[in-house]
Subunit: 757 residues, 2 copies
C-alpha cells in the first residue's frame, strides 16, 4: 500500500568473499555444516519452482475486478486464494474481523469565487484499458476516515502540508486559520496533511496529485506512458495511523464479534476536518484562482500557472458525507507446522485488498506470496520439513488502515509474543533493485539472502547490484567507502505504510519488508488505472521481478524456519544504535546552532534588512537556545549493547567449526528461547509518549511523517518538538530498554559458552 518505497534499504558493502573457489557452499548463519548443505539443496529446489506465467495468471484473476474492503470481489478473491492454498495441499482457513470502514455518500469540491468551477471527482474510462470501465464496482475517489463536513472558505496552498511548510507560511504572513487548505500529495503520508492543517486551524483539506510529482513532469501519462493522467486521483486512508492503525473502534484488541467497541464519537483516529483527494485536472482551476504571495520556488509544481499561496480570492466549497458502516474482513491464513520447534513461528504476509483493481498495489506482491505458498506445497510433497512453524497470511483491509494484519496481530497478540521469530512482509512490487528494510537484528541475515539470489536483468546477485547502485547514488566519498568496505549493506529502518506495522511496532516481532523497484515508475497509485493493463505494459511486464521476489521472500522464510540457531545478529544492530545516537546528538547540536544563528541574525537586523517592502514577511521569533541534554545513559547503554554483541559473537565463534555451528540439543533450545525474545525486549508496555499502541522503543513511524521512520522515536520526536524534559526522560527509558537487551544478549552468550563441547 505504501507508495514506491524509495527510502530504500541503503544496503551497504562487503569485503566478505563468497566461497566461490571452494566446493563447499559458503556457511549459513545459524546452521551446522551438514544442515547448511541440506538447506542449500532445498533452497535451490525452492528457487527453481516459481513460474512467471503463474504470477501473471494470479494477477489477472485477482485484479480482474475492483476488490476493496466490503466489495463482493474482495470476498471472492479471499475465497479463491483459500481454494488455491488448499489445492496446493496447505492447511488454510479464513479469519474474519468486522471493522469500521466508511465509504462516500456525498462528495463536493467547487470553486465559488472568483469564478465558478465544479470538480468532477471522477476518473474517466480509458478505452484501451479493459478494466478502467468497471465504474459500478469502483470506489469513488475519496479519503477514507475523513470526518463528515460541509465547509466553505478561502483557499490556501500549503505545498505538501507538512509542519515545515506551515512554518514557512508563518514567515510569509499567510494564515490558514478558517481556510480550506490545498496540499499536494508527497513528502509525508497523506494522513499527516489534514492532521497538521487542523492543528493550524484549517477547516477543510483538499489533497491533489501535482504533475510535478507523478504526472507529465515525470513521463508520458497513461495510457501513452506510465504516469498519472490529468483526471487520475489517488485514493487513500487518512486515518491517524501514527496514533494507532487498525479498526478505529477496537484499538489494541482484535475486532472480533465480541470485542468491546468504542462509540464513533470517541474514536481518536478520524480526521478533525473533512478531506477529499482530487486530480490535477480538478486542482488546476482552484490553484489558478489563488492570488497573494507567489509560492516559494520549491513549492511550485508543474502546472502551467503561477503558484500563489492565497488566502483567496479563491473561495471553495468542500463537502464530504460517508456511510459509517462496518465491513467484514477476510484474512486468509496458512499454517505449515514446524517439525522441531513448532512453537517458533515465521510469519509471512502480503495484503490482497486494493483500492480498486490494484494490480500493482498489492497484487504484484500478493502473487509472489501465493507462488511461494505453492512452492512450499511442492517441497512438502517432496519431503521437506521445516523445523519451525510457517504462517502465510493474505491480509484483507490493508488499504484503509492496515486493518486485517492489525486485527489479526491484536487477536493473536499473546501467541505472537511467545512464538514469533520474524515477520516477512511484501506489498506492491516493481522492477529494479532489491529493497530490504527492517529490524537490524536481521540486517546480516537479509544480506545473506540477497547474496544468494540472482538479479533477473543483470545476472549478478541482488546484493551486488544493490551495492553497486548504492555506490552510484552515494553523496560523499565517505559514504562510498563504507558501502565498499562494510561487511553488510545497511538496511533502512521501517516506518509504516504496510502490514509489518502491528508486528514490529506493537508486538516487537523482528520484521523485514522486501521488494523491488526504482527502474519502473508511474502515477497510477490508488487509481482505477492500477490494473493488469498498466502493470503488464509499464512495470514488471514479464514478472521476472515477481519471480525474484518469491525467491527472495521464500528463501528468507525457509532459512529462518530451518536454522539450528536463530540467525539474529547483534553487531550490526549495535552499530546501528550507535549511528542513531550520533544522529540524535547531531540533531540537537544542529538545532542549537540554528537557533543561535537565527537569534544573532534577528539582533543584527538581517530579517528586517532583507524583507522586500513590497511583500509581506514576518521575521522568526527569538527562541531560547536548546539546552544540552544528558545523553550519557544512552551512550552507556549503546556501549553495553556493543560489548554484549561482541561477547555473543565471540561465544558464537567458539561454537563454530569449519564455518558451521557446532551446538545442538538442549543448549541450542535454551539459547533460541532467549533470542526469540530479543526484539520483544526492545518494546515497552507503556509505548511511546502520547501513542501507547506503539511499543517499540527503536522504530516508529513519525507522528508527523506517517510513512517515514523515526528511530529512537521517543527521544528524536521530543527533540524535534522541543520537549526537552521529555527528551531526557525518554533517553533514560530507551537506555533501560537497551540495557535489558544487552543483558539478554550477554546471557545468551554465557549460555552458549557454557554449552561449548
Amino acid at each position: 500500500m505504501r507508495r514506491s518505497v524509495l527510502v530504500v534499504l541503503v544496503f551497504l558493502a562487503s569485503v566478505v568473499l563468497l566461497g566461490t573457489t571452494s566446493e563447499e557452499p559458503s556457511p549459513l548463519m545459524g546452521y551446522s555444516v551438514e544442515q547448511a548443505r541440506a538447506e542449500r539443496n532445498w533452497e535451490g529446489k525452492f528457487r527453481d519452482i516459481p513460474k512467471q506465467d503463474n504470477l501473471r495468471d494470479y494477477m489477472k484473476r485477482l485484479s480482474a475486478r475492483p476488490h476493496h474492503v466490503g466489495s463482493p470481489y474482495d470476498k471472492d478473491n479471499a475465497e479463491w486464494i483459500l481454494s488455491k492454498f488448499k489445492e496446493w495441499g496447505l492447511n488454510a482457513h479464513i479469519e474474519n474481523f468486522d471493522v469500521l470502514f466508511p465509504t462516500p455518500k456525498e462528495r463536493v469540491v467547487e470553486l465559488l469565487e472568483p469564478t465558478k468551477f465544479v470538480a468532477k471527482l471522477q476518473e474517466p474510462v480509458v478505452p484501451v484499458d479493459p478494466t478502467s470501465g468497471q465504474q459500478s464496482e469502483q470506489l469513488p475517489t475519496y479519503n477514507a476516515y475523513s470526518i463528515d463536513g460541509d465547509v466553505t472558505a478561502p483557499l490556501v496552498y500549503v505545498n505538501y502540508g507538512v509542519p515545515d511548510d506551515y512554518e514557512k507560511l508563518d514567515r510569509l504572513g499567510v494564515l490558514v486559520k478558517g481556510a480550506i487548505v490545498i496540499a499536494r500529495y508527497g513528502e509525508s503520508w497523506r494522513g499527516i496533511k489534514p492532521k497538521v492543517a487542523a492543528e493550524h486551524g484549517a477547516v477543510g483539506c483538499i489533497i491533489y496529485s501535482d504533475p510535478r510529482d507523478d504526472g507529465y513532469f515525470e513521463g508520458e501519462v497513461f495510457p501513452q506512458g506510465a504516469w498519472r493522467p490529468k483526471d487520475g486521483v489517488q485514493r487513500g486512508s487518512v486515518m491517524d495511523m501514527p496514533t494507532y492503525p487498525g479498526d478505529p473502534l477496537t484499538p489494541g484488541v482484535g475486532a472480533t464479534p465480541d470485542a468491546k467497541r468504542l462509540a464513533l464519537k470517541d474514536v481518536k483516529t478520524l480526521t478533525k476536518i473533512p478531506v477529499l483527494p482530487i486530480s490535477y485536472g480538478d486542482a488546476q482551476p482552484l490553484l489558478a484562482a489563488l492570488k497573494g504571495p507567489v509560492a516559494p520556488k520549491e513549492w511550485r509544481g508543474a502546472l502551467a500557472n503561477t503558484y500563489h499561496l492565497g488566502p483567496g480570492p479563491a473561495k471553495v466549497h468542500l463537502k464530504v458525507q460517508s456511510n459509517w458502516d462496518t465491513k467484514r474482513l477476510y484474512d486468509v491464513i496458512v499454517k505449515i507446522p514446524g517439525s522441531t520447534y513448532p512453537n517458533e513461528w515465521i510469519v509471512r504476509g502480503n495484503h490482497h485488498d486494493a483500492w480498486v483493481n490494484g494490480a500493482q498495489d498489492p497484487v504484484s506482491g500478493a502473487v509472489a506470496l501465493m507462488e511461494e505458498a505453492r512452492t512450499f506445497g511442492e517441497l512438502l510433497k517432496q519431503g521437506w520439513k521445516p523445523k519451525r512453524t510457517i504462517i502465510y497470511c493474505a491480509w484483507d483491509g490493508e488499504e484503509p488502515g492496515l486493518l486485517g494484519s492489525t486485527e489479526w496481530a491484536e487477536a493473536h497478540a499473546d501467541e505472537l509474543r511467545q512464538h514469533a521469530v520474524a515477520y516477512i512482509n511484501t506489498d506492491a512490487n516493481g522492477r529494479g533493485y532489491l529493497f530490504a528494510l527492517g529490524s537490524h537484528t536481521l540486517e546480516k541475515f537479509a544480506n545473506g539472502v540477497a547474496r544468494d539470489i540472482e538479479d533477473p536483468e543483470k545476472k549478478i546477485t541482488l546484493w551486488k547490484r544493490r551495492q553497486l547502485k548504492n555506490i552510484a547514488d552515494a553523496k560523499t566519498p565517505e559514504d562510498r567507502q563504507e558501502i565498499r568496505q562494510r561487511a553488510d549493506l545497511r538496511i533502512a529502518a521501517l516506518g509504516s505504510g504496510s502490514d509489518y506495522t502491528a508486528f514490529l511496532d506493537h508486538l516487537g516481532v523482528a520484521s523485514l519488508n522486501l521488494g523491488f523497484g526504482d527502474e519502473d515508475g508511474g502515477g497510477i497509485y490508488h487509481s482505477i488505472y492500477d490494473d493488469f493493463y498498466w502493470y503488464t505494459h509499464f512495470s514488471d511486464t514479464d514478472f521476472s521481478y515477481g519471480r525474484a521476489l518469491a525467491q527472495t521472500s521464500g528463501t528468507a522464510v525457509m532459512r529462518l524456519a530451518d536454522a539450528d540457531l536463530l540467525p539474529y545478529d547483534f553487531t550490526d544492530f549495535a552499530d546501528t544504535i550507535h549511528k542513531y545516537l550520533d544522529e540524535l546528538q547531531k540533531l540537537l547540536k544542529d538545532k542549537q546552532d540554528k537557533i543561535r544563528e537565527q537569534n544573532k541574525e534577528i539582533e543584527e537586523g538581517v530579517f528586517t534588512a532583507t524583507a522586500d517592502p513590497k511583500e509581506k514577511s514576518v521575521p522568526p521569533p527569538r527562541e531560547d537556545v536548546p539546552p544540552f541534554l544528558a545523553f550519557a545513559p544512552l551512550q552507556n547503554a549503546a556501549d553495553a549493547l556493543a560489548r554484549s554483541a561482541e561477547h555473543y559473537q565471540k561465544a558464537l565463534d567458539k561454537v563454530t567449526k569449519n564455518g558451521g555451528l557446532a551446538l545442538s540439543g538442549v543448549s541450542l533450545k535454551a539459547v533460541n528461547a532467549q533470542l526469540l525474545q530479543s526484539e520483544r525486549k526492545l518494546t515497552s508496555p507503556d509505548g511511546l509518549p502520547g501513542r501507547p499502541w506503539f511499543r517499540h522503543m527503536i522504530y516508529a513511524p513519525g507522528f508527523y511523517t506517517g510513512y517515514g521512520v523515526k528511530t529512537i522515536p521517543g527521544v528524536r520526536e521530543a527533540i524535534e518538538q522541543k520537549k526537552w524534559k521529555e527528551a531526557e526522560e525518554q533517553i533514560v527509558r530507551v537506555a533501560g530498554v537497551l540495557q535489558d537487551e544487552a543483558a539478554l544478549i550477554e546471557s545468551a552468550a554465557e549460555d552458549m559458552e557454557k554449552a561449548q563441547p
Copy 2:
C-alpha cells in the same frame, strides 16, 4: 545588456566602525585630513542633487521608440543626450564608428513532422502597454551575428546547451550530429549555445525562453505581472564575444572610416550554424513533438508536457537570412578636464542603444549616468574642480556586441593605457541590493563608497544592507563568519556582458560595474515589453534606486577624481589571488578524485549494473587521472604579492597622520604614476591562449560561459579543458605577471618610504 546580474558582489563583512561618535568624518582612502573634509562636503552636495523625476523624464524620452543600432531613434537619442550634456554646461561630442550589424531578412522555424506547425516569431501588441504596438520600428526577434542558413533536421533538446549538457547526452546515447538543437535560455550567455552545438556537429540552433526560467513559473506574466508572456522573445547577440567583442570586421582597432577591415568570410566571431530565438508559445509544439529518452529531472522546464530529448520524430525547418549591412554608431562623450592631474582619467559609461525600447536595459542605467553628468555640471558651476579628468560616455551598440565601447576603447587604446585610472560601468538597474563587481584593487574603495550611501528602502547604508543580505544567503557557518569579520565585503570578479569588457580585459583598466537588483524580477529582457510601462509598473517604479545608482556611481567617480593618492588597495587584491590559487588547486584535485572514482566504478561494474535495460545508456570512458601540476611558481608569486601588499600598506601607514594622508607634491606624483600602471601590469600583450584580444591574466569571461568570469583564466580553462601542458605554461606566465605586479607595488612602497617627512 547582461541579464540581471545575480552572480553579484558577494560583498562580505566588516568590524570597522564608522566614526559615528566623532565629529570628524571617517577618513577617506588617499586623502589628507583636509582634503577629505572638502571632498565629503562636495560629495554631500553631489548626492543631494539627483532627482527621481528627472530620471523618469529621461527614461520616458529615451525609451519612447525602438532605438537599436542603425535605427533613426538611436541617432535621435544620441543627439538628444548630447544636447542635454551641452545644456548642462559640459564639453560633449559624438564619436562615430561604422560597424557590421546584420538585421533579419527572412526567419523561419517550422515543425514538419510528425505534425505541422509554423512558429509565429512575433511578439503581440499588449493593449495597456502604449509602446508595444510600434511594430514598424521594432527589430524582429532574432539573434544577431547568426550566419545565414537553411536547414531541415531532426530536433534534439539540449537543456541549456552548455558543455556539461552534451556530456550528459553522451551518457544517454543521444547524438546531436546532423540535428537541430533546441536549447533554453539561461545558465550561459546565449552565444555559447550555438558555439557548443556546432562543436558537437549540430546543423542549427533554436534558443527559447522556458517559463521555468523567466515565465509563469516565476510569477504572473506581463501585463498582469512582471514575467515573460507566452509569446515574448529574448533577442540578443550570438557573436563569439569570448573570442573578441566589438565590430567583427575590425578586431583590435577602432572601426573608423579608414580602419582595415576583414572580409566577411574571414570573420571568426560569427556563429557556425544558423540560430533563432523563439518564445515558449512557439517552442511548446516543438518540444511536445519530441520522443526518445525523458530529459533528466534538472533539465525539465515548466511547460505542461513531458520533456523528451529526441532526436525526433520532430523534424524542424530553420531558416535565417540577414542583411549584412554596416551601421553607424553614435558614442556620446563628455570630458571634464582635471585641474591637478589632467592626464589621469576616470572613465564612466553606460550604453544608450537597446534591442527595442529598452526602458530597463539600458535606459534605467543610462538615466542615472545622465543625472550624474547634470549634477557634475551643477557642481562645476558651484566651483568644484576635479583633480583628475572625468570622461562620461553614453555608448552605442552595446547590445549587438559591446560595439560602441569596444571601438572607442580600441581607437583610444594608447591614451587609455597611459591615462586611465579606472572605468566605472553601469547598465540595466533595478530595485534591491547594491551589486559591485570588478577589479580587486578597487575592492576596498568600493566598500568605502557603499558605506557612505543610504539604501532608499531601509535607511541603512548600502554596505550594511548588502552585508546582511550576504549573511542571509550564506551557505555555511564559515562563510557567515567571514562576512561578519572581514573588513571588506568581497566583490565578485567581472566576466563579460557589458561595456567594461574592453577597458578591463583588453586594456587593463581597473573597472567596477555597479547596480541594484534582486528585489525586482521579470521576464521582459530583450523583448518589446522592456519599456516605460513595464518599468514603471514592475521595477524601480519611483526611481529611488535610480537615484541611489547616480549617487553611488557619481560618488565613486568623484572620489577617484579628487584623491591625492590613487585609492587602489593591494591587500584585498593579494587575498583574492590567494583565494583563486586555492580554487585552482581544488579544481585539479576534484578532477583527479572524480576521474579516479569514475575509473574505479567502471572497473567495479557500477555503470553496467545500474543501466536500465529498457533504456539506452553509455558508460563514461576510462580516462587518465589528471597529473599533479607544478603550482609552485604561482604560489611563490602569490606570496610575493602578499608581501609587497603588506609592505605598501606599512609604507602608507607611515605617511598617514590622524587618518589622513601626509604626502604631497612630487613624491605623490611619482607614486601615483606607478600606481596608475598597476592594473596594466596584470595584462600580457599576447593575451590568453587562442584569444589574444583578452589580455588580462586575472579576469576573463569564460570561453564556454560567455558572461561568467574565469579568474586566472589561462590556468583555469586549461585545467577545465584537460590541457595539462598548457596549464603549466600558463602557471609560469601568470606567475611572471604577478611577480611584476609585486615588484611595482614594492617599488611604489619604497618611493613612499623615501618620501616620508
